[in-house]
């Protein structure tokens, strides 16, 4: 593939997005879906064409030429495809294509399919720009693009109660992050003098943690960019938008809020990992935030009843895991888990979508109890996805090796924050304990769905049991089952046969894969997880046993209030902001509006006087003209 083909990668979906946005209203759903799929599929195929370039260890790059060229700033508009970006391109366009295809079935009776598919295509285009960009400014363009598309797609059912608010929340949380991001980019530029990712990495590599001041512009820049990444990847304290984002259509949750967009922060921080390697204090900060997110996500996922919310909190928890790997300065493990998570979480979301579709948009797991019995392909998907999510069985579970890698990298690192130093071993035990919860929430969900006693929605409508109808939904679920199963093999480290070496090298620019856990080391955790999973499943698959866990603490308490984050924002951020707003509006009303009224009154009086000059008699005008000419004559200089 010639380098200029890189430019076409985001252009295809962007073009179809434009096409659909302009003319989509007149087309029917199937045609719209076909066009949308075509745009993403073309990107995917062009991306595949670069495989030979990248597998040889080479890079493809394409520059559109200078973008900003001033005395103080200069940036290129260019794309660079190394193997990391290639893996991301495959993830984005491949999953993008599958999920767009899935949406054709899922959105078949939607009122505004054109807007949906146009936004979806635009999202893929923006995400491709984000992963292909060779400098931070261009990344910011894609960063904003995915934020907007996320907002549009969360708000797709804008007529439903609460949906606009959820979209707003996601958007504004991301705006705060975007602001931090831009500031951070400026700081980094001020210190390193470049926007280039490779340039930044090279300059950071030349430094060491001892040689750089922990209070320098670079440190602040890294911290601010981290804020942006936290907002995009829903890390505490910016995590509040992600569960609300489930108000969007389920394919959107799968693509944007599980597989791709929320991992943009992970991708970015992993790209900049040479910089973060310089600042152990910032990594300590990442440790704390990621750990908090991990715990919040895992704990809250256990008490949710909305099928999508369970998955959303599980996503939070997994994102926390990725950031823990980044905090341990092990971007390889973070990337590996990014792909593993995408594999099983997209599958789970799409399976949940299939359930929701079959049960006529019912999302409460209590009502959906036993629904899987009627949906064979969805059932297989759920099992594969849940196994992957918990990482239960080596090879067969997508998340097993990637989680192990994360744990191992954490165990080898050290948490430093201020004067606090915690050994990585202790941390890894804590994380392992929290990860046991993933077995609980996943198998709680499975238990509900596999329950013998059917819930209301699982009984079906008008005597028809819920059933899978859409061909594309079934097809995509089948493909993703294979991907989910396959990823377990693809991610195997050397200690388990090393089938994953190739993929790891691809996703990490040719880095050597670490040895990985020994089987004996993994076995105890595995056994405990298995026991927990089996216990949970047996409890929740049984309507009588689970009854005593339901209905407890539903409206009050720490868990129901989601650890009081909303209340905290309300009292610490929004209340002062509202007070400020009221104060400003009072000032505006009294001072500014008073001023305007004064000006208006003066204008009215003045115009009343001037109006008398405009008598409509032409000789008055002639007299005025002559008088004016006369006065001008008197004013002539040098008379």
């Amino acid at each position: 593939m010639p380098p200029y083909a890189l430019a076409s990668l985001p252009v295809f979906p962007a073009a179809t997005a434009l096409l659909l946005a302009l003319f989509g209203r007149r087309l029917n759903v199937k045609l719209i879906g076909t066009i949308a799929c075509l745009g993403v599929a073309l990107s995917f195929l062009v991306g595949v064409g670069f495989a030979s370039t990248v597998s040889g260890g080479a890079e493809a790059s394409f520059s559109f030429g200078p973008w900003l060229a001033t005395n103080v700033l200069s940036a290129n508009l260019g794309f660079r495809l190394d193997s990391v970006a290639f893996a991301m391109v495959m993830l984005v366009s491949g999953f993008g294509f599958l999920i767009t295809l899935y949406s054709v079935g899922y959105m078949h009776d939607d009122k505004e399919p054109a807007r949906f598919f146009a936004s979806l295509n635009l999202f893929v285009a923006s995400m491709l720009i984000l992963v292909l960009a060779d400098n931070l400014l261009l990344i910011f363009l894609g960063w904003e693009g995915v934020g907007v598309c996320s907002y549009l797609l969360i708000g797709h059912y804008w007529k439903d109660a609460g949906v606009p608010l959820a979209a707003y929340r996601a958007f504004f949380t991301n705006r705060v992050g975007d602001l931090l991001f831009v500031l951070g980019v400026a700081f980094l530029y001020a210190h390193f003098g470049t926007f280039d990712l490779s340039g930044l990495a090279a300059k950071a590599d030349a430094l060491s943690a001892d040689s750089i001041d922990g209070n320098s512009l670079a440190a602040w820049g890294a911290l601010l960019v981290l804020g942006g990444a936290f907002a995009k990847s829903a890390q505490a304290p910016f995590h509040v938008w992600l569960p609300d984002a489930m108000a969007g259509p389920t394919p959107v949750s799968a693509l944007i809020h599980a597989a791709t967009m929320v991992t943009a922060g992970v991708y970015l921080v992993a790209r900049l990992s040479p910089i973060y390697a310089l600042f152990p204090q910032i990594r300590g900060f990442i440790y704390i935030c990621a750990l908090v997110t991990l715990v919040i996500g895992a704990v809250l996922a256990v008490v949710q009843f909305d099928i999508k919310k369970i998955l959303a909190y599980s996503t939070l928890s997994n994102l926390g895991l990725m950031f823990l790997a980044l905090a341990a300065d092990s971007p390889g493990a973070a990337r590996l888990h990014l792909f593993g998570h995408a594999a099983f979480k997209a599958l789970l979301f799409l399976a949940a979508g299939s359930v929701i579709l079959a049960a006529h948009h019912e999302q409460d797991v209590r009502k959906l109890a036993g629904v899987l019995k009627h949906l064979p392909i969805t059932r297989a998907s759920f099992w594969i996805g849940c196994l992957g999510g918990v990482g239960l069985i080596p090879f067969l579970a997508a998340g097993f090796f990637s989680k192990e890698m994360v744990l191992e990298s954490v165990a080898e690192s050290q948490l430093t924050l201020g004067s606090l130093v915690v050994s990585g071993k202790a941390l890894s035990w804590i994380i392992m304990g929290v990860e046991l919860l993933s077995a609980v929430y996943m198998f709680r969900l499975l238990g509900y769905l596999e329950s013998k006693v059917p819930g209301e929605a699982a009984k079906g409508h008008h005597g028809h049991a819920p059933h899978e109808t859409s061909v594309t939904v079934k097809l995509v679920l089948g493909i993703l089952c294979v991907v989910g199963l396959g990823f377990g093999f693809v991610s195997a480290p050397p200690s388990f046969g090393g089938m994953g070496k190739g993929f790891y090298a691809l996703a990490n620019a040719g880095a050597e894969m670490p040895e990985g856990p020994s089987f004996l080391h993994a076995l105890p955790a595995l056994v405990v997880s298995l026991i927990v999973a089996a216990l949970t499943f047996s409890v929740f698959a049984n309507a009588g046993k689970r009854a005593k866990y339901e209905g407890r603490n539903q409206t009050r308490g720490l868990l129901a209030q989601k650890f009081y984050f909303d209340a905290l924002y309300e009292s610490a951020v929004f209340t002062p902001l509202r007070a400020l707003g009221r104060f400003c509006s009072a000032i505006v009303e009294s001072v500014a509006l008073g001023g305007f009224e004064l000006m208006g009154g003066a204008g009215e009086t003045g115009s009343g006087m001037l109006r008398r000059l405009m008598s409509g008699r032409f000789q008055n005008y002639a007299a005025l003209l002559l008088a004016a000419v006369f006065l001008m004559l008197l004013l002539l200089p040098g008379r």
Binding site: A623, L626, A627, F630, L633, L634, R639
Partner: protein
């Protein structure tokens, strides 16, 4: 009598005639008379032009201005046939309503002030300005003017602007015709 005295005498006579005729133009009640008086005022003007070494301009003043443009006025006045204006000069005879009289005296006062100021200014300026060079032999004659305008026409800006004037007149004529054409949608005979 020297040549200078002759010039001074002629100029004085013409100046008086011009002012008197102009005043009569604006004061006459009958528009027909006004028009004819204006033509009369152009004749001494053209004589002064000849004295100012502008014989061609003097001829134009008579031929074009008095002969063509004023004929247009005469025709229109005859076509429209306006009545002599009632009360136009009434303020001079005291037969006018108070308001109109006031307006007239206001205008006269303002113009008198403007006249005094302007004349003072103009006279001071005229005395302070340097006297021009001697006139060439054919100054002001048709040959000299046409050389100035049409000599070397491709590079002479005067040529283009002079030709453009004909466009202006053409546009004026088209506009006038368009104004006074009867609306074809109206019935014949109705005004």
């Amino acid at each position: 009598m020297s040549e200078v005295d002759l010039y001074n005498g002629l100029f004085s006579a013409c100046a008086i005639l011009i002012v008197v005729f102009s005043l009569m133009v604006v004061l006459a009640r009958n528009p027909v008379r006004s028009t004819l008086l204006l033509i009369m005022s152009f004749l001494p003007t053209s004589l002064v032009y000849v004295m100012l070494k502008a014989p061609f301009v003097g001829i134009l003043q008579v031929l074009v201005y008095a002969g063509a443009i004023m004929m247009l006025f005469t025709f229109v006045v005859m076509m429209v046939n306006p009545r002599p204006e009632e009360g136009e000069l009434g303020h001079l005879r005291g037969a006018d309503p108070v308001g109109t009289r006031l307006v007239h005296w206001n205008v006269l006062g303002a113009l008198a002030v403007a006249g005094v100021v302007l004349v003072t200014l103009v006279r001071k300026a005229a005395e302070s300005l340097p006297v021009g060079a001697e006139h060439p032999a054919e100054f002001g004659e048709l040959s000299s003017i046409s050389r100035m305008i049409f000599e070397n026409p491709m590079e002479n800006p005067l040529t283009v602007s002079f030709e453009l004037i004909s466009f202006l007149v053409l546009v004026g004529i088209i506009a006038a015709i368009n104004f006074s054409r009867r609306d074809p949608s109206q019935k014949k005979g109705t005004p």
